[in-house]
């Protein structure tokens, strides 16, 4: 319909349908969340980047203002080298995540490739394994000195190692594998909802399957691709695990390394300098958002889900099935099985040792027993379940409402809301945590030191993920169904419960699972917001890690992988069965 008068009229009707208490509540909640919980940390970050500020002095104060942090951060030539390395690292990571996650999404969602259910569950494993542990696993596999693969290689008579864990390509690989589940879920959701009629029309017009894929499918997925690219790029910019464990050893320094070193690795912590470095991430994120918004400006033209049905067509691979199976097997072995095997090996030993007869003698389930019988483990588990479920649910609901306000209601300034919802991504955890601490200490409330402060903080923290999922999903849905409902007299709640909700269900499940896993394993904010009452697993894991209990951390990771594999397998089973 485009931007015609009729379209405006319908938009107006939609607003009317949803006006009153419901809509005001949505906007009010959005305003509260984004205004208080995003602007405040952002203001804290920006202001303190211009201050000389030490421990206990973070706040919205104008004392000790200085430009020194920026001069220190950006006046040295090595900063520009670091910026370049950061770009190279982020770009390479994005490519690996796109190729691995994208191909797997295509195979699982749009083809009759074998082992699709297994592949769906498998894609979550790199996400579940703590990043530090995954990076360490690759050192144990590919270190020139002690790497198992290199030891095997050199035992065959070769003098040089086959690959070194300490290199930029390995950083791309490890971080790319960590990020690939996000690409898989986002692209998978979009691919699943592709209108086959458009592809069929292209094929009927004489286009080859490849042409139809590149000229129709990929073009229609532009908003999703842009969202994934933006997320992956910014995620790689702020990634800590691989740069710290592998990058530093390889002599490669990126921005996130310096932010961490300024904020956490020196005493007294140099918050001003760390935040000055963070401003680069804020600026890059803003630029990325601008590009993303430009693509989303004409979101209507990417809508493929109409009132006429949208069930996607499964592509029969025929003889290409073998190739698809090879790709899946390769992914299963190289990206999942190898690090997972190291993880299981570590979980069975008191200390890491290269596989040998002596090491086999030390194998036991002691680490598993220690984890299970750790004090407070039951409380941590209970809190983690509460936090995980509430955060996953909260993020997806708030994201859906925000995306709807931005892309279907199209209120003025909606894009600003979307931008604000993305900003928590670029704000360092310490700034977010201190802001939440200050906020919840500033008035009497029953939330401070309970799991609910973590739930709220995590909802804000993970909104950028939720909104990318829901943005990508909503722009695929034509407004004609909502319009039909409005003209039939449906109210806002009915439109949401009976139209938007069911159509977005696969997106909400995929995004919810992703956020659930993230909330289970993310710890930097929780460390400062935690208390004896609201302890969660990720904080416990962090402590076990700090205490050198790698075996116990590995055992816990294996148990979580098992549990989440069952959940995702069931979720995946349910979802894939809908395709039939």
């Amino acid at each position: 319909m485009g931007n015609t008068r009729a379209d405006h009229w319908i938009s107006g009707k939609l607003r009317v349908a949803s006006k009153g208490k419901n809509q005001f509540s949505i906007l009010f909640i959005s305003g509260i969340l984004l205004g208080v919980f995003v602007i405040f940390p952002l203001a804290l970050l920006i202001l303190n980047s211009f201050r000389e500020v030490g421990l206990g002095e973070l706040g919205l104060s104008f004392r000790n203002l200085t430009l020194g942090n920026y001069i220190t951060a950006y006046s040295e030539s090595r900063t520009w080298k670091m910026l370049w390395d950061t770009f190279i690292f982020a770009a390479g990571t994005m490519v690996v995540a796109f190729v691995v996650g994208g191909v797997m999404a295509f195979l699982v969602e749009r083809t009759d490739a074998p082992w699709r259910r297994v592949s769906y569950g498998m894609m979550f494993i790199p996400l579940i394994i703590p990043g530090m542990l995954l990076s360490i696993s690759w050192i144990f596999l590919l270190s020139p000195n002690i790497g198992i693969i290199n030891k095997l290689w050199m035992s065959m008579g070769f003098t040089d190692p086959i690959l070194s864990a300490y290199s930029m390509p390995m950083m791309w690989w490890v971080q790319g594998i960590i990020e690939s589940p996000l690409t898989f879920l986002l692209l998978g959701s979009a691919l699943r909802r592709m209108d086959p009629a458009l592809e069929e029309a292209a094929t009927t017009a004489g286009a080859t399957r490849f042409k139809s894929l590149t000229r129709v499918t990929l073009k229609l997925m532009a908003p999703t691709l842009a969202g994934v690219a933006l997320l992956q790029f910014v995620r790689a910019l702020e990634a800590m695990d691989t740069p710290l464990i592998i990058g530093l050893n390889a002599g490669i320094k990126v921005f996130s390394t310096n932010i961490l070193l300024a904020l956490n690795n020196q005493f007294p912590p140099d918050y001003g300098l760390g935040f000055a470095y963070s401003m680069t991430l804020i600026v890059l994120t803003a630029v990325g958002l601008f590009v993303y918004s430009s693509i989303m400006r004409q979101s209507d033209k990417y809508a493929v889900i109409t009132g006429k049905g949208y069930r996607p067509q499964i592509i029969h691979l025929g003889r290409w099935k073998v190739l698809a199976a090879c790709f899946q097997a390769l992914f299963a072995i190289v990206a999942v099985a190898l690090p997972l095997a190291v993880l299981v090996w570590m979980s069975l030993l008191p200390n890491f040792a290269i596989p040998s007869r002596e090491a086999l003698a030390d194998i036991s389930l002691q680490n598993y027993a220690s984890v299970v019988f750790r004090p407070d483990m039951a409380l941590a588990l209970k809190n983690t379940v509460i936090v995980g479920i509430c955060v996953a649910f909260g993020v997806m609901v708030v994201s859906l409402l925000l995306s709807w306000v931005v892309f279907h209601m199209k209120i003025r300034g909606g894009k600003i809301l979307d931008g604000l919802a993305f900003m928590p991504y670029a704000i360092p955890s310490i700034a977010m945590a201190v802001a939440f601490l200050a906020l919840f200490l500033s008035f009497k409330n029953p939330i401070y030191n309970t799991v609910w402060i973590l739930v709220i903080a995590y909802i804000v923290r993970f909104l950028p993920y939720g909104t990318r999922f829901t943005n990508a999903g909503l722009v695929q849905i034509k407004k004609e169904m909502e319009e039909a409902a409005v003209t039939s007299g449906a109210k806002f709640r009915k439109i949401f419960v009976h139209i938007i909700g069911p159509l977005m269900k696969p997106i909400l499940i995929g995004g919810g699972l992703y956020v659930l896993v993230l909330s289970i394993k993310t710890f930097p904010m929780a460390v400062i917001l935690s208390s004896p009452q609201n302890i969660i697993l990720s904080v416990k894991v962090w402590w076990m890690w700090s205490d050198g209990k790698f075996g116990e951390v590995s055992a816990l990771a294996v148990m979580i992988i098992l549990a989440l594999s069952i959940i995702t397998f069931l979720g995946g089973t349910d979802k894939l069965s809908q395709q039939k």
Binding site: G56, S143, I146, L261, F267
Partner: protein
């Protein structure tokens, strides 16, 4: 009509959002930092101790800390040792709870087991975090008059960054025979134990002639096989102190040493202490140029990793126990500190956490014995020596060495 409604709604929403944004800034702006006078720069403690007769409003464990009630009365602590224990126990029983904020690791349940057994009616809560979050949260709570910590256990660096006015006075009755270096001059906190710091090496890879002195580390055969941590910013300061005269750190000698060591070994860079120590034990590195001795001791004693601390004079950094001024459970806190400084508590803590106790009664703890048997001499660093200026000078040099 619909367009009119939409316009009105937009205005309403815009105003609502604006209000929220302004509100959020106002909420954040209405804060002031606590007194910035730190124990290092003050010579006077300004706090008064709560007492055995203090009446506190004890809240249930699940109640928000933001609504925590402060002690309502304060008076002098019991002085008669005969009655002290009884009075403390009676008052602590009413309080019912103790919350310990600590950066001392995850094994609190082990070293606190006898305390819990002795006082089964006390609910013992432990909040574990790293040092900076403890300092950050403690000061943030103090700014708004919320107090949830009863006892602090943290590094002396962070203890020094906390304003003196936030510490309470504690008599430390069990420490009369402790060395003078364990006492902070104003009695604000107690240096309860130390963590040795210094070079560690893989004993299997070191060969027949393992290093015995700092200078032995400059071994060209170890080029590319050593590792240095970003966390070890204090290393140049520590060697300057060890090699200098009292009050005169040998900065030049120290800087020259590290420069030469880095030129010779070209160590890889890492972060943290535990992962590289594990990798050192696994044979990934020959030498960790400045490690956490507590981590190394733990790995040597528990994991049997083939690693050793340099058997020369190495620095030892104190960690402290302190009583906050506005502790919500002052009597339970005193019982807790009494236990931690008792011979039993100090020895068990040392054995559990692989740290060197300051208590003479814990001289025979396992870590103390290992240090003594290996011929390691500890140089105990004082608070004055760890001044902000010294730390900055050392940190700047270290970051430059590592190319950060």
């Amino acid at each position: 009509m619909s367009i009119k409604n939409g316009a009105r709604l937009r205005v309403l929403v815009s105003l609502g959002l604006l209000g929220v944004l302004v509100g959020s800034l106002v909420v954040g702006c209405g804060k002031s930092s606590p007194s910035t006078t730190s124990p290092q720069s003050t010579s006077k403690a300004t706090s008064s101790a709560p007492a055995s007769s203090t009446t506190t409003t004890t809240k249930p464990a699940t109640t928000s800390a933001a609504t925590t009630a402060k002690p309502t009365t304060t008076s002098a602590p019991p002085t008669s040792s005969a009655n002290r224990q009884q009075q403390l126990e009676a008052a602590a029983q009413k309080e019912g709870k103790i919350t310990f904020w600590t950066s001392f690791g995850t094994l609190a349940d082990t070293y606190l087991a006898p305390f819990k057994k002795k006082y089964p009616w006390l609910q013992v809560e432990v909040w574990q975090a790293t040092n900076e979050p403890i300092g950050q949260k403690f000061m943030a709570e103090a700014q708004v008059g919320t107090h949830t910590a009863d006892v602090l256990g943290l590094s002396e660096e962070v203890a020094l960054a906390i304003p003196a006015s936030l510490y309470g006075k504690y008599e430390w009755p069990n420490t009369t025979d402790w060395p003078a270096t364990s006492k902070q001059k104003d009695g604000l906190y107690l240096r309860s134990h130390m963590n040795p710091m210094g070079p560690t090496f893989n004993t299997n890879l070191a060969g027949a002639n393992p290093p015995k002195k700092w200078d032995d580390l400059k071994n060209p055969a170890w080029k590319g096989k050593a590792v240095a941590a970003t966390d070890s910013e204090e290393a140049p300061l520590m060697t300057a102190l060890i090699w200098g005269q009292p009050g005169q750190p040998a900065w030049d000698k120290s800087f020259a040493y590290w420069q030469e060591l880095f030129t010779t070994l070209q160590p890889k860079t890492t972060t943290g202490y535990t992962p590289p120590t594990k990798l050192l034990g696994a044979g990934e590195y020959y030498l960790f140029v400045y490690d956490s001795g507590a981590v190394a001791l733990r790995e040597m004693m528990t994991s049997k990793l083939p690693i050793a601390l340099l058997p020369d004079v190495i620095p030892a950094k104190p960690s402290v126990l302190a009583l906050p001024k506005d502790t919500p459970h002052p009597n339970a806190a005193r019982l807790f500190l009494d236990y931690m400084t008792s011979p039993e508590g100090a020895t068990l803590f040392s054995n559990t956490m692989y740290s060197i106790s300051m208590s003479p009664s814990a001289a025979n703890s396992e870590p103390n014995k290992v240090i003594s048997e290996k011929g390691i001499k500890l140089f105990v660093v004082t608070a004055d020596q760890m001044s902000k200026e010294n730390m900055k000078k050392s940190g700047d040099f270290w970051r430059k060495l590592l190319g950060l």
